[in-house]
């Protein structure tokens, strides 16, 4: 069996499962953010009203708000807090960071487990070898919370093999963007993706992270990386104990697709959708007013270090505001220790509390009608941040564009 089949077989108490089969699986972790928590709580308390089966498996992270701007939003968070405390869930209040980064950093994600959440980017936890996927709030309310379960149709697995070596100024985010464009939105509907190959295996955990992150963008059910020595030592360092590795047997794969990253240029997802990906050179020169490191895929320590490579000794363009949103308190603390907070500040960047930043413009990030933002965020749909247009790119490209005042090829900045 492949990794997804093994995980779902164990979780559903079966000796084996095959693609197409419907299983009811035990859920090891339910992740809710401030918006989904509120909606899930409503359904659960109004229509289900049962004890929660495994409260210690539920993790609530307030990440869309870092501080409620209105009374209504304050009330929503207050209700969330009261609900989480009443049931004994793990609660991370505003300012803790992005839901997925917090869940991982706090040690809640273990290889071989089933992780579900309302956030559509929940599959990112496949990075550590989980079966992770997004479900609707009703699924959590009706099955996850009262019974600790969720039903799944076992997906077919597609292995994506990546090989080659990226050139200077080309980062794993560029490769992930490139793949999204290549596979296409909806190109892998309800399939599970296994990211593999020498290029991917050579990446550190938080760079691998960017691949399962694109799962939802191509329509897939889940995405993962097979746990290896790097995964296990990462977890050993994080949690103080070395987990068991669950790995797939390697042959039960519906399809294998391969790409090389040799010669790849920096990539940008252009408006209006995540799959509209082109080399940055095709968009270079488009004026921008906003740049941001943050979101599910950004605000990693790696992103902040990359931006610092561009920004040390340079200044953000006077027409650009550059927001830096650390993905967690750990990242913020480490960035302070490494002097990155000062370096980026000196270059003209502004630091924001750990959160999902401008995602959906709850606390920040609204654009005027013809303003343009380039960011490390995961989504660029029209209207998501007020008016304006959004480009998605690597931290290097975001930083280079912030300096240039327009979309810029980062290779000119990191020679």
């Amino acid at each position: 069996m492949n990794l997804v089949e093994k995980i779902l077989a164990r979780a559903s108490g079966r000796a084996r499962v095959t693609p197409g089969e419907v299983v009811v699986a035990d859920v090891d972790r339910i992740l809710l953010h401030d918006l989904s928590c509120y909606l899930t709580a409503r359904v659960f308390e109004e229509e289900v009203r049962q004890p929660v089966c495994h409260p210690d498996r539920v993790v609530v992270v307030f990440d869309h708000h870092f501080s409620p701007p209105t009374e209504e939003q304050a009330r929503m968070l207050q209700e969330n807090r009261a609900w989480a405390r009443r049931h004994g869930f793990h609660l991370f209040d505003c300012g803790s960071g992005n839901i997925h980064h917090v869940a991982l950093h706090a040690g809640f994600i273990r290889p071989g487990t089933v992780v579900v959440g309302s956030d559509s980017h929940t599959p990112v936890h496949g990075t550590l070898g989980c079966f992770a996927t997004g479900l609707g709030n009703y699924s959590h309310a009706a099955l996850g919370l009262p019974f600790g379960k969720a039903w799944f149709r076992v997906p077919e697995l597609v292995r994506i093999e990546l090989e080659g070596t990226t050139g200077l100024g080309v980062t794993p985010r560029d490769v992930a963007l490139f793949l999204t464009g290549q596979i296409g939105e909806g190109g892998m509907v309800y399939r599970a993706l296994e990211f593999a190959g020498p290029y991917l295996e050579g990446l550190e955990v938080f760079d691998r992270w960017l691949f399962p992150l694109i799962t939802v963008d191509v329509g897939a059910k889940s995405g993962h990386v097979q746990p290896d020595e790097r995964t296990l030592s990462f977890l050993a360092e994080l949690t103080g104990e070395r987990p068991e590795a669950v790995r797939g047997d390697g042959d039960d794969v519906a399809e294998v697709r391969g790409w090389t990253v040799d010669g790849l240029e920096p990539q940008v997802a252009c408006p209006p959708t995540v799959g509209n990906v082109h080399p940055v050179t095709e968009s270079a020169g488009v004026p921008i007013q906003w740049a941001e490191l943050g979101g599910h895929g950004g605000g990693r320590l790696q992103d902040i270090r990359l931006a610092a490579r561009v920004l040390r000794g340079r200044r953000v363009h006077p027409q650009v505001r550059f927001n830096v949103v650390p993905s967690s308190r750990w990242v913020f603390t480490q960035a302070l220790r490494e002097g990155l907070v000062e370096d980026l500040h000196r270059a003209g960047a502004t630091w924001f509390p750990p959160s999902t930043g401008s995602n959906q413009a709850i606390n920040m990030g609204a654009l005027a009608a013809d303003e343009t933002m380039v960011s490390t965020h995961a989504r660029n749909f029209p209207g998501r941040n007020g008016g304006g247009r959004m480009y998605l790119a690597s931290a290097l490209t975001v930083a280079a564009s912030a300096v240039a005042g327009c979309l810029a090829d980062p290779r000119e900045f990191v020679r």
Partner: protein, 418 residues
């Protein structure tokens, strides 16, 4: 023989002397407008003119909402940016800069003897550097953009002589709250409040800012601390030599509406209770009151010295479980310095949520409360409904009291941590 305000307004009106109650046309040296600048621009459009008297006297700072969270605000802010660029307004600070008052003072634009108007009631803060600062409406700022002039009634003056040695754990904020409690919110309505004596002379500019800022809550037209070597050093550090300003001092024997003598030697930490700034009690009477949120921010108390004061208590301790501690540095310079000196890390490790610089929760940019919630704040206003629900409460106090309160989760006397 004239008070500070009589002398400074006479100069700005081009008159040999003025008396309280007289209406004069003054030529302000600086016109500050904050996030409401878009209103000034819209008002200018309605006036049907595009001619500005002197763009170099216009200063705009996008501080109240930073950055935008709605497309409407984003449009308004873009309007200001474009207006500033089109008119050659070089004193334009965008959403990353911080609170207007602090930005202008840090940039050396506020100098002794100046007359400054601003679209913010706490423009009295400029008195910390011996300037006349007062809050006006946005349409008045618009009119001043065009004419270079604004009419004013010359205020009478209140002279406060402050002596004594402030006890440890008690601050300029406590003095001002005590004074507001004693004089009430209209204790100095339309008066120029002058602070004299050994205590203000012993203070840093930061503490003088807190005093002049809070003077607004007495109803003051403006506030004033006489410029001295502390003032001159502050300005010199910002590239402003003494030759570039004219200090103004009241004459001995000038006429005051009232003179008040205060001794701070036995002062205790003070707290303004809901829902007015003059509902002030000594800390002992409110200690133990539950809080949900602590906000260290605003033009009253989010300067470097204030954050150091808070960090002294928070370092190595943790915010009480269930309490949210919001810290909003007053300006970019403050944010940079606390990062450099490890104060940011101390606050972060204590559990604080540190936002980007700006007005923050004081102006409704975050920090809203639901029904029944309580915030302890270092800001200058605690009116009902100011921070969210009409059924929430705001207590005001010093950064030290705020920090002690965050650690315990109930209003706490900071002297317990000394």
């Amino acid at each position: 023989m004239a008070t500070f305000v009589e002398k400074v307004l006479a100069r700005a009106a081009g008159l040999p002397e003025v008396i309280p109650g007289q209406i004069v046309d003054v030529e302000p040296d600086l016109y500050m407008s904050h996030s409401a600048s878009w209103r000034c621009i819209r008002a200018l459009e309605r006036l049907g003119t595009d001619r500005l008297h002197d763009p170099s006297r216009i200063a705009m700072v996008m501080d109240h909402i930073s950055p935008a969270r709605t497309a409407k605000t984003a449009d308004d802010q873009r309007l200001c940016r474009e207006f500033a660029a089109r008119h050659g307004i070089t004193r334009f600070w965008d959403v990353e800069a911080g609170i207007a008052h602090l930005v202008l003072m840090e940039e050396g634009l506020v100098r002794p003897g100046m007359v400054i108007i601003g679209t913010d009631s706490h423009s009295t803060i400029y008195g910390a550097l011996g300037a006349f600062g007062t809050g006006v409406g946005f349409s008045e700022v618009t009119a001043t953009w065009v004419t270079g002039k604004l009419w004013m009634k010359v205020p009478g003056s209140l002279r406060v002589e402050v002596e004594g040695r402030m006890p440890p754990g008690v601050t300029a904020k406590d003095l001002m709250l005590w004074l507001i409690g004693r004089l009430t919110a209209d204790g100095a309505t339309y008066l120029s409040v002058e602070f004299h004596g050994g205590y203000p002379a012993s203070l840093t500019v930061s503490e003088r800012m807190t005093m002049c800022n809070l003077a607004m809550e007495l109803g003051a037209k403006n506030a004033y601390v006489p410029p001295d070597d502390v003032t001159r050093a502050y300005l010199a550090e910002r590239g402003v030599p003494p030759g570039e300003y004219e200090e103004v001092f009241p004459d001995p024997g000038a006429g005051y509406v009232r003179t008040l003598a205060v001794d701070v030697s036995d002062l205790e930490p003070q707290v303004a209770c809901p829902h007015t700034v003059d509902n002030v009690r000594p800390i002992g009477e409110v200690a133990g009151t539950h809080v949900d949120q602590v906000f260290i921010g605003s033009c009253a108390n989010a300067k470097y010295d204030d954050l150091v004061e808070a960090a002294r208590i928070l370092k190595g301790r943790r915010v009480a479980p269930g309490v949210r501690l919001l810290v909003t540095p007053a300006s970019r310079q403050v944010a940079a310095r606390i990062a450099r000196e490890g104060i940011h890390a101390d606050l972060l490790e204590a559990g604080a949520l540190i936002t980007n610089p700006g007005c923050g929760a004081c102006a409704g940019d975050g920090g809203a409360m639901a029904d029944g919630e309580v915030t302890f704040s270092t800001a200058n206003r605690n009116f009902q409904g100011r921070m969210g629900s009409y059924r929430s409460e705001i207590y005001l106090g010093s950064p030290a009291t705020a920090a002690a309160t965050a650690v315990r989760g109930v209003i706490t006397d900071p002297r317990e941590f000394l």
